[in-house]
């Protein structure tokens, strides 16, 4: 052990973080409290159960573009479903607005996804293969299929709105003939579009996302429903927006319930990032806005200003849910604690249960 007469000149060590929860805290003698003549390690103390506090897993190199896509993809999926329902129940304004909203959301969301790639000019490589094991691959195809249908349906709406100004020529009757089936085709891929992003996040080694893998799909489809309902309430006169209101209310109920259930069922350490820092704030406000929007819908949903305000609150709630979950996951990957502690616990639990042959560490 090296000592030096200059040891006393070292700056005081920052207080060590105690490991929260989980047994087996390590005994170590106090460090950095000596008078400078006691034995000291050459290097600053390391976090007892990690490599100098360095992360074990790497966070996904995804920027806020991807978080925005999580929201927009859900919004598009929910709107696609609303559009198909409006088609079936003969609500032309709701149908038009839902289709246009869905198209705008997938267009912006898809562009955000491409922009986030390390090599955007190669985005089409996703569409040169199909891999069931890759939620990103499955999702690319879902997104493409949805976009195709909603694109055709929305093009027809745009043509009608502009008084048949689109240069379609003889294709106009064709467009009118296929817009209905195209709307239903999009609707078939609408719920997968809203749900697959949950699998995309959960199917990673990112501790918080992975720990959510059983319940995150329910949170995401609920969030998509309330967002799409909100968009319908903002854009559509109250007479036609009844289904949007009910979808929003069901979404709020699902969102609040699923989020809470999910947090209870997750590993407690992996759930921590959902309550701290930026992610914690966003998720707290997400719930508040969802509830406020839900109450607003219930109470004033038939009065347009209240409907618009509630709809905006709901869309904001959905965006905050996505950004919050996204942020919490990235945070969990940057701190080794969230990787190591749940893994050590589950390993210890398996050993306690007598399963000792499936550890990566053997003798």
């Amino acid at each position: 052990m090296s000592t030096s007469e200059y040891d006393s000149l070292r700056p005081p060590e920052p207080p060590r973080r105690r490991r929260r929860g989980g047994g087996g805290g390590r005994r170590r003698r106090p460090f950095g409290t000596g008078d400078g003549n006691r034995e000291m390690l050459m290097v600053p103390d390391v976090e007892p159960t990690s490599y100098y506090g360095r992360p074990v897993v790497k966070p996904a190199p995804w920027g806020e573009d991807v978080a925005a896509y999580l929201f927009l993809g859900g919004l598009a999926g929910g709107s696609g479903l609303l559009g198909a329902g409006a088609q079936l129940s003969n609500r032309p304004k709701l149908r038009r607005n839902a289709r246009l909203g869905a198209l705008a959301a997938v267009a912006v969301g898809g562009a955000a996804l491409v922009r986030d790639l390390g090599r955007p000019e190669r985005f089409y490589n996703m569409l040169r293969t199909f891999k069931v094991t890759s939620p990103m691959s499955v999702g690319s195809w879902i997104l493409s299929a949805f976009s195709a249908g909603i694109g055709v349906a929305a093009a027809s709406e745009i043509d009608r709105m502009t008084g048949e100004k689109l240069p379609l020529g003889k294709l106009r009757p064709v467009l009118r003939a296929v817009e209905g089936p195209a709307g239903f085709e999009a609707a078939a891929f609408a719920t997968p579009l809203a749900a697959y992003t949950a699998v995309l996040l959960a199917d990673t080694a990112t501790p918080t996302w992975n720990a959510m893998h059983k319940d995150l799909p329910f949170v995401f489809v609920s969030s998509a429903s309330l967002a799409a309902g909100g968009l319908g309430m903002v854009t559509t006169p109250v007479e036609e927006a009844g289904p949007a209101r009910r979808m929003a209310l069901l979404g709020v109920a699902g969102d609040v319930t699923a989020m809470r259930l999910m947090e209870q069922r997750m590993d407690p350490v992996a759930a921590e990032p959902l309550h701290h820092g930026k992610a914690g704030t966003m998720l707290k406000w997400s719930e508040r806005l969802a509830v406020a929007g839900g109450v607003g819908t219930l109470v004033g949903g038939r009065w347009r200003p209240a409907a618009v305000a509630s709809g905006l609150a709901l869309m904001a709630a959905s965006a905050l849910t996505r950004f919050g979950v996204f942020e919490a996951g990235l945070h969990s990957a940057k701190d080794p604690r969230y990787t190591i502690e749940p893994q050590k616990r589950r390993l210890a639990e398996r050993r306690a249960a007598g399963i000792t042959d499936d550890s990566i560490t053997t003798v």
């Binding site: 052990m1 390590r26 170590r28 003698r29 990690s50 490599y51 100098y52 360095r54 992360p55 074990v56 897993v57 790497k58 966070p59 996904a60 190199p61 999926g77 929910g78 329902g85 129940s89 790639l117 390390g118 090599r119 190669r122 490589n125 996703m126 293969t129 094991t133 890759s134 939620p135 999702g139 719920t191 997968p192 749900a195 949950a198 699998v199 959960a202 199917d203 990673t204 080694a205 059983k214 799909p217 329910f218 489809v221 429903s225 007479e239 009844g242 289904p243 949007a244 209101r245 080794p336 893994q343 050590k344 050993r351 042959d357 499936d358 550890s359 990566i360 560490t361 053997t362 003798v363």
Partner: protein
């Protein structure tokens, strides 16, 4: 789609017509001297650019910090005092007394361990008179080339593929840098290469050397187990250069056997802290192609203590997502059917 977890032959799962022995590393950290020759050889052979800003971390002799897009070998340094050495020995002793190894298929090596140690080391005085006062742990980390590789399974473009040697390699001309593999790796190995250090330093008066252009910007990069050398029957650069044979390269099966014998030998010498990492095909990633002999718990070296490939639960996730999607359809149906009329 091959199987997503459990013991398997990854090359056969990938439908290779030719049969090559699965290749891998056995990194025996007990004889690593921390020279970092492996890091240098790897960088040179693979033309990997500099990453980081040539800063000193101040945390140890490790200024490389971690594996990454341009660092495919990383030597970890951990200084430990006597108390920590004792703890490591104790945790190793616990491992032995758990009844491990119970690798169901390979009884042969198990018996040799039992012969040497009697299976239970609790009664053995494992504190030799030369218990060191402190020690440096040095370990050269590398891509694990998992049997069930998360990076490979989640890659949407097919850029990552399984070679005939059972290793996992990125095709840098196919990868579009989506970054899914980065999050998919339970060991934090693969990384998307940013512009590296091509950006000029912001600190004034510092010009840290001219740099060649950075290849493969924006795509995922990781150890290839020197695929280009393997196809020519050569040893990977790191193993070739390692002066102490801490890094051994060879057929995976032979290496696992060798690793088990080495652990038994160290145990017989009283070093109960010795243990293997990745040699168990029943673990969460189906065993790794790169096997390590460690002298403390894995997390001390920055390795996950119980990694589980994310795709092992993929079918559960898809099922749950399908249930959620069905719920959403039901909610929409209720929304449109509820209260009948249009003015609801």
């Amino acid at each position: 789609m091959g199987q997503l977890s459990g013991p398997t032959d990854p090359t056969a799962d990938a439908h290779w017509h030719t049969h090559e022995e699965r290749k891998g590393f056995f990194t025996d950290t007990s004889i690593c001297i921390g020279c970092k020759a492996c890091e240098v050889a790897c960088k040179e052979w693979n033309h990997n650019p500099r990453d980081g800003d040539l800063d000193l971390t101040g945390m140890s002799y490790d200024n490389t910090v971690s594996l990454g897009a341009s660092t495919w070998r990383h030597v970890a340094f951990v200084e430990q005092d006597r108390a920590r050495i004792e703890e490591a020995r104790e945790s190793g002793r616990v491992l032995v007394s758990l009844g491990m190894p119970q690798v169901r298929s390979e009884r042969d090596v198990t018996t040799s361990v039992t012969d040497l140690s009697g299976g239970d080391l609790s009664g053995v005085d494992t504190t030799p008179p030369d218990t060191p006062e402190f020690r440096w742990l040095m370990a050269s980390d590398v891509c694990k080339h998992c049997t069930h590789a998360g990076c490979l399974d989640v890659c949407p473009t097919g850029a990552l593929f399984r070679t005939e040697f059972g290793t996992v390699v990125v095709q840098d001309d196919v990868c579009n840098g989506c970054g899914t593999c980065v999050a998919g790796c339970p060991f934090g190995v693969v990384e998307r290469r940013s512009d590296g250090t091509a950006a000029p330093t912001t600190r004034e008066g510092q010009k840290k050397g001219e740099q060649p252009p950075i290849p493969n910007k924006g795509v995922a990069q990781k150890c290839t187990l020197c695929y280009d050398r393997l196809v020519d029957g050569q040893t990977p650069a790191c193993a070739k250069t390692c002066p102490t044979t801490s890094i051994k390269f060879g057929d995976h099966e032979d290496l696992v056997t060798e690793a088990k014998a080495r652990v038994a030998q160290l145990h017989a010498q009283g070093m109960t802290e010795a243990r293997l990492y990745g040699a168990n095909e029943l673990d969460g990633v189906g065993g790794t192609g790169s096997v390590f002999l460690l002298l403390d718990e894995p997390e001390v070296y920055g390795l996950p203590p119980d990694p589980r490939v994310c795709t092992a639960d993929l079918m559960t996730m898809y099922k749950r997502a399908a249930m959620a999607a069905a719920g959403m359809v039901a909610a929409a149906a209720v929304a449109f059917l509820g209260r009948g009329g249009r003015g609801a």
